[in-house]
């Protein structure tokens, strides 16, 4: 029973928010060292505002998790789990506790760190508040899910979109993200814009040339990887029927390129806005052209990695991109190469 529930309610949760967990792992695991984690934990425990912000973050995560389980319960494919409503709350807690613990893994790990830092600091009020918060949220979250199993709800179905009554192909993937991966889209775009702002801020602080900004674009483009992975899965799954349609390369590629441009628009706007203060406008032009080439390139890379199952190619590509920037390789030529790689991907009649 435990394994079935874990497979049904934990794996889908992590899979649905994979992009978010990758970002958290990269930020907390790669960009931060243990020393910085300990310093941050101390700061959280010593400053009430920071501590409240942490509780709010935990609460937001709990709400997302609980509502995700609710959505699963209402999924027609999960109808067989309605039988869990025959259980009493005590038995339900026994069955569902492993699911809750597994889905809260990130929060529980961070709580352990805060306890580790807080006990020597004698931050008893903060540590006990945190543990009380987790105990209460455990009870409320499980009781909420228990009630959801007991009440039979109609299936959640999409209603007709009143604004886009005729959705052009260019918007299909955006609608797919909006309906199925809204958090992934929002978080990745937020991170990407945050990273680019940081790179521009440090550039204007002095000591860097425009290669620093090009490196920033490279980092921000790799942060988009989960979006392009989603696009790959969308093409392989819900769009695969359309491979039967007679579409020539020019039509396919032109259409996909516009989809890329639409999704790149927030960063393009930021580059134009932030880059307006650059001394050499030609460099700004190169950066814009580079950004336009980067995302199709990342998609081509994602496609290749998925087909050949060579995940190390992602690190290798990032490293090669980094070297090309460091050694001052022309950004426009790099951009053309990456767009060509995407063109080669869409050249296949089995790719949509």
């Amino acid at each position: 029973m435990k394994e079935i529930l874990i497979k049904s309610f934990v794996y889908p949760f992590y899979k649905a928010y994979l992009g978010f967990f990758i970002l958290v792992t990269v930020v907390l695991g790669v960009f931060m060292e243990i020393k910085q984690h300990l310093m941050l934990a101390e700061k959280i425990l010593q400053n009430d505002k920071w501590f409240l912000a942490l509780l709010f973050t935990f609460l937001t995560y709990q709400v997302f998790q609980t509502f995700y389980i609710k959505r699963l319960i209402h999924d027609p494919r999960y109808r067989s789990f309605q039988k869990l409503s025959f259980l009493g709350f005590g038995d339900f807690i026994r069955f569902f506790t492993p699911v809750w613990l597994a889905n809260q893994g990130l929060i529980l790990l961070y709580t352990l760190l805060l306890c580790y830092v807080g006990i020597p600091l004698q931050a008893w009020w903060q540590v006990s508040t945190l543990l009380l918060f987790l105990t209460i949220s455990f009870g409320i979250s499980l009781y909420f899910n228990f009630l959801n199993f007991r009440e039979f709800h109609p299936e959640i179905r999409l209603s007709k979109n009143r604004i886009f009554t005729n959705k052009p192909y260019l918007l299909w993937f955006i609608f797919h993200l909006k309906e199925n991966r809204p958090l992934l889209l929002l978080l990745i775009k937020a991170l990407s814009l945050f990273l680019l702002s940081g790179f521009f801020y440090s550039y204007y602080s002095g000591g860097y040339d425009y290669r620093w900004l090009a490196f920033g674009l490279l980092v921000a483009s790799f942060a988009q990887y989960p979006i392009w992975l989603e696009r790959w899965e969308f093409g392989e799954g819900k769009l695969y029927y359309f491979r039967n349609l007679p579409m020539n390369f020019g039509y396919k590629f032109g259409r996909e390129f516009l989809v890329f441009l639409i999704l790149m628009l927030p960063e393009l706007t930021l580059i134009l806005y932030q880059g307006s203060g650059m001394d050499h406008k030609r460099e700004l032009g190169y950066l814009l052209v580079f950004w336009i080439g980067l995302n199709p390139g990342i998609f081509a890379l994602c496609n290749w990695v998925q087909i050949h199952q060579k995940f190390s190619a992602v690190y290798l590509s990032f490293f090669l991109g980094f070297l090309a920037i460091i050694f001052g390789f022309n950004l426009a030529i790099l951009s053309v190469l990456m767009i060509s790689a995407a063109g080669f991907t869409f050249h296949s009649p089995y790719k949509i």
């Binding site: 819900k238 769009l239 009649p349």
Partner: protein, 206 residues
């Protein structure tokens, strides 16, 4: 009409299907086989959806050498259709029509024949399995294909639509369109006068 040469398709699961040579003349052809025998895999390859080893040509046009021209001649309806759930059938028709440009009145005519009512304006996610199947069938009849491949066309649709679909297939056949069909229904073999009846067993065409 349709020729398969050294056709081979294999999956990482170990399942594979091979056809050394197959030649089908114009007309209507039935492919029988149990669940998981490889029927849908073969049909998807002929429809240009799955890649494979070997070659397939239709009226001398190779799918490998001229993929776009080949696809212009072949339409397909899946056994269990999958479409983006946020789109309506009308949006799917508009998108498909932009590419294959069917006759102006064809869409309305097909909607009437297949019993597709007002629901075509609603998102796919609200469709029943029968409505979804009718949507896939409508798309398969759109335009002027030379070959229409229908995978399990009669399952999940109501009896009245089954009757109208039979008439539609027969009339298209009389106009010169060829068909490849599959079915599990017991009386399916008597529905049409097939030019060829083939059977697939464990990935081998008997």
């Amino acid at each position: 009409m349709l020729n398969l040469h050294n056709f081979h398709k294999s999956y990482s699961t170990g399942f594979s299907i091979s056809v050394d040579h197959l030649n089908l003349d114009s007309g209507i052809h039935l492919i029988k086989g149990a669940n998981g025998s490889g029927k849908s895999t073969l049909l998807k390859a002929i429809a240009g959806i799955h890649d494979f080893e070997g070659d397939i040509d239709l009226f001398g046009i190779s799918i490998k050498k001229e993929p776009v021209t080949f696809r212009k001649m072949v339409n397909f309806s899946e056994a269990e259709p999958v479409f983006p759930e946020f789109l309506s059938l009308d949006e799917l028709i508009r998108f498909t029509s932009q590419i294959i440009q069917p006759d102006h009145h064809q869409v309305q005519e097909l909607k009437e024949k297949l019993g597709i009512a007002e629901y075509s304006k609603n998102p796919i996610s609200t469709y029943s399995s029968g409505m979804l199947k009718k949507s896939a069938l409508l798309l398969a009849f759109l335009g002027s294909p030379k070959l229409i491949i229908l995978d399990e066309p009669f399952t999940t649709i109501d009896l009245a639509t089954q009757g109208r679909l039979k008439v539609l297939i027969q009339s298209k056949l009389n106009q010169g369109t060829s068909f490849i069909l599959t079915s599990h229904l017991a009386d399916f073999e008597d529905l049409f006068e097939y030019n060829t009846t083939l059977e697939i067993k464990n990935g081998v065409l008997l």
